[in-house]
Each structure stands twice: as structure tokens, then as C-alpha cells.
Symmetry: C2
Subunit: 277 residues, 2 copies
């Protein structure tokens, strides 16, 4: 493993670290961030995954959410992957919602994307392996959260690995990617025209049959992408029919920004920690 | 007054607003941000000024510090000016530490800078007038804080208006601008070669004679600009000789970034609120 610690900053007494490495899964150089609370060598701590939205890198959540305060209070490590493979050799698109910065957390099957766009495998296998070496006394307990495209990613990864993750939460997630413009564009590009192949990457489909850990979802009422991209009706209906525990809250006045995330992150951390004990 | 509300976002239940206006003092269009906590129409609230560092706009503190959580808890309005006049017609320099983004909170006397670079007058008079109209039930009590160049600004503005501001605090401030590279470059450009004119803009000089409100200063030990740009010895010596109350803390491991600010902002807000009651 070719792991380079490119930066370590102290925040709320813990360490906000940035690493770069060559990813075998993605066949390119990648960067990610991880926060380790104080005392991380003295006691066992769990790990929360944060998946970011379209156009983001690992920096957005690190710099704008204020999560380090909560990670330190709750004594939990937090890992923040990038949102796609990167680099000049990696296929891209001029649009903000396709290509680099828009990996959608799937394993692409279509050319030219399938060469690098394997974010699902990268996160669930390769980066998970790396993370376990970086948290000195990892309790083995993990949960996953994300925003927008990353909310979709958290739900899909969490439900496809329902035994592994102890809690799933999302801010303003794309809940039905097969039905909304962002998802249709990405899935038809990365997965091809056969919509049957899309279903295993669609939270609204997965929630029909999975017995997943508890799910918490927060949505702002003034989100300019709601409901067009973030429609929840079918997801909630399917969850209910499958007796899947979902708490879905609509928050008056809030938009799609990090102001929304930072406001309700406290609730999300409390929810995760309850399930990570 | 030609004031335009260009954005309002909800954060921690309060309102994070952005305004643009034509500034008479600066002779250009300016943008600033202000946070109003909930209940701001029901009870009297004080106002904290935040002055940002080199290269910043009003967005850095708004998006990276997480201050809204504290402003809401303490029920205080916070106003965040830009760091210089702006626009194509405004004198500039290619360097990051001179010209636009680097106003140093002085009133320039040298051409071509004196035409627009009147940040001291802009903040203490014009923007103060505007702020008083935006806080519905302003208690009349103000305090001031800032970071780096903005820490210098907070100290100088606070001490030059010692009756008006109830508390002054700074993260990693330029304490002796007349003696360090950033300050010498800016002052010789904006104020001219006669160093006697620099003294009224130098906190280390002002603290010799002013009876200012309590001052709190936080400095990180791993700050790459410390001590070269941020040397504190002369300031602390002069403050002590003048019986000026200064609490100066060095914080192990912290650097010059917003990770440092966000970690200790809680302490700074508590300090300000104690003096704003």
C-alpha cells in the first residue's frame, strides 16, 4: 500500500489528516481525509463514513460542516472519501453532474467509465482496508452518512452491507436515482441503458427487501433540488411496506447547503453513536 | 442607502444574510454578511464584528468557522465585512498580501490607494450605520474580533474606539504591523514612507496609551506565520506597562487555519458575551 500522509491539522484537539494513495480499484491517485479524536490510542473507537455530494472533494465536509467538534465529543473516527476517480487519464464530462466529482458510488460497467469508476468497490473494500489500519484501536463498528449524491451513496452502500453498518443517515439524499434527472443521467452513462441493472443501486428498490439498520433522513423544505431530484414518496412507501425503520424529517426554511448540514449534524451524530455503542 | 439582500440562508434556525451595496467611503460596490439569531425581533441583542484575514471575503468565516451555532446559543448578531474595496476600477496588486483582499483596515493616504482604500472609515462609520438598521432590536452594545490581518484590524479599531467596543479578541493577529513583513509592505504602500504615520494603526503602539476593553488573543504554536508575522513580545510588554488587560494564550499544535478558529471560537464568544451583557 502506497499511502502518503500529505497533511495533518489539529482540530478540536484531534487530528484532521489528509492522505493520498494509488487506488487499485480506481486505477488512479486518490486523496481522502480522516479525523481521529484524541485518546484514539487508548480506547476502542468506531468509524463513521461520510460520502459527499456532486462536485465535492474530501475538503467540503472537512472544512464546512464543523463535524470535528462532534467527532471529538463522541470519540469517533470519521473518514471522508473523494466523490470519484480523478486525474487527466480518467474519463470526464464537462457537466458538473457527470464524470469527475460525480462518481455516484457505483461500479460502472460501460466504457470508457468502467476503467476507473468503481467507487463502490473502492469504498467498501480498498478504503475500508486502509481505514482499519489508520484507526489504532478500531472497535470494528461502522456506520455511514452522506449528503445529496452522497446520501444516495450512504443508503445504497449501507443497505447492500446491512450487517456491516450499524446506522445509515442522509441529508437531502437522492432517494430514487432511477426516477430523477441526476440519477437517470449518471446511471444510463455508467451502467448502460438496461434499467434492470440500475435497481441494485437504487435505494427505493433496495429498501423493498433489505433488513437494514435504522435510517435517519433530513430534508430542507427550501432545497432548490427538492422535490425534483430528491423525491421521497416511493422510498418511504417501500420502507413502510418492508417494516424498515426510517425517520424522515422535513426542516422548514433549510436549503441544500452546508448551513443545513452543520445545523442538524448534531442529531445525526447522536443517532449514529446510539447505534455504534 | 442602496442596500440589496442578495441571499438569506437559514443556519442554526437564525438567518445568514448576504448584502451588497454601493459604499460611499470606498467608492465601489461591496458585499458583506450578517447573522441574525432567532427571536431577533423580540429582544434586544448585541452585535459582534468579525474581521477576516488576507485573501478572505465575507464567506470564509461564514462557511468555515461554524460561528452560527454560537451566535444562536448566545443570541447575538454577527457582521462580517469584506477585507478590502473591490472591482475592476479599484487599485490592485498581483501579490496576495497587497491590494484587493488585503485592505489592512486602514484609511490609505497614498495614491492610487487613497481613492478607495478607506476600510477603517467604511467599517466604523458607514457599515456601522447600516448594521444598526439591520439588527431590529440592537442593544447598542458592540464588540470586535478577527483573524490574522483581521486580528490586527480588530485590535486597532477596538482600541481607537475604546468606549464603543466592549471587548476585543483576535486569533493569530498581526500585533506589530510596523515591524513585520506583511505590515511594512502594506503600510509603506497605503500610508507612505513616513513611519510616524504608521503608529496610529499599530496595536503595539496603541496599547501603550489606550485604556481599552478586555483583550483576548489566541495563537497556535504550529502557525507557519508565527512568530515572523505574528510576534507578540512587544505588544504584551507595552500592554503590561499600561495595565491593559490582555489574555494571551498559546495553543499547542494548532496552525493558522479555520480549524484553529473553529476550535477556540466557543471561548471567544463566551468572552465577548460576558462583556456585552
Amino acid at each position: 500500500m502506497n499511502l502518503k500522509n500529505v497533511e495533518t491539522k489539529i482540530a478540536f484537539d484531534g487530528e484532521q489528516r489528509k492522505y493520498s494513495h494509488f487506488s487499485e480499484a480506481l486505477q488512479c491517485d486518490m486523496t481522502f481525509s480522516i479525523y481521529l479524536p484524541t485518546n484514539n490510542e487508548k480506547k476502542e473507537i468506531p468509524l463513521i463514513w461520510w460520502l459527499s455530494g456532486l462536485t465535492c472533494t474530501d475538503d467540503n465536509f472537512s472544512q464546512k460542516s464543523g463535524f470535528q467538534r462532534l467527532a471529538e465529543i463522541h470519540q469517533v473516527a470519521v473518514i471522508i472519501p473523494d466523490t470519484s476517480p480523478r486525474g487527466e487519464a480518467v474519463a470526464d464530462d464537462a457537466a458538473y453532474d457527470l464524470g469527475q466529482g460525480a462518481g455516484f458510488y457505483v461500479d460502472a460497467t460501460e466504457q470508457p467509465w468502467s476503467e476507473h469508476y468503481k467507487m463502490y468497490t473502492y469504498i467498501t473494500e480498498e478504503l475500508a482496508e486502509i481505514a482499519s489500519t489508520l484507526v489504532p484501536r478500531f472497535s470494528g463498528k461502522e456506520s455511514i452518512m452522506g449528503h445529496s449524491m452522497g446520501g444516495h451513496g450512504a443508503l445504497v452502500i449501507g443497505m447492500k452491507n446491512a450487517q456491516r453498518f450499524k446506522a445509515i443517515s442522509a441529508f437531502s439524499p437522492i432517494l430514487s436515482p432511477s426516477q430523477v434527472p441526476w440519477g437517470i443521467k449518471a446511471f444510463s452513462t455508467y451502467l448502460g441503458k438496461d434499467k434492470a441493472t440500475w435497481l441494485e443501486w437504487d435505494a427505493t428498490e433496495l429498501v423493498k427487501t433489505t433488513h437494514a439498520p435504522p435510517i435517519l433522513i433530513s430534508q430542507g423544505t427550501q432545497d432548490s433540488f427538492y422535490p425534483e431530484q430528491l423525491e421521497e414518496t416511493a422510498f418511504l412507501k417501500n420502507a413502510k411496506e418492508n417494516n424498515q425503520l426510517v425517520e424522515y424529517t422535513k426542516n422548514a426554511g433549510y436549503d441544500h447547503s452546508y448551513f443545513f448540514i452543520s445545523t442538524f449534524l448534531d442529531d445525526h451524530f447522536a443517532f449514529h453513536m446510539k447505534n455504534l455503542k
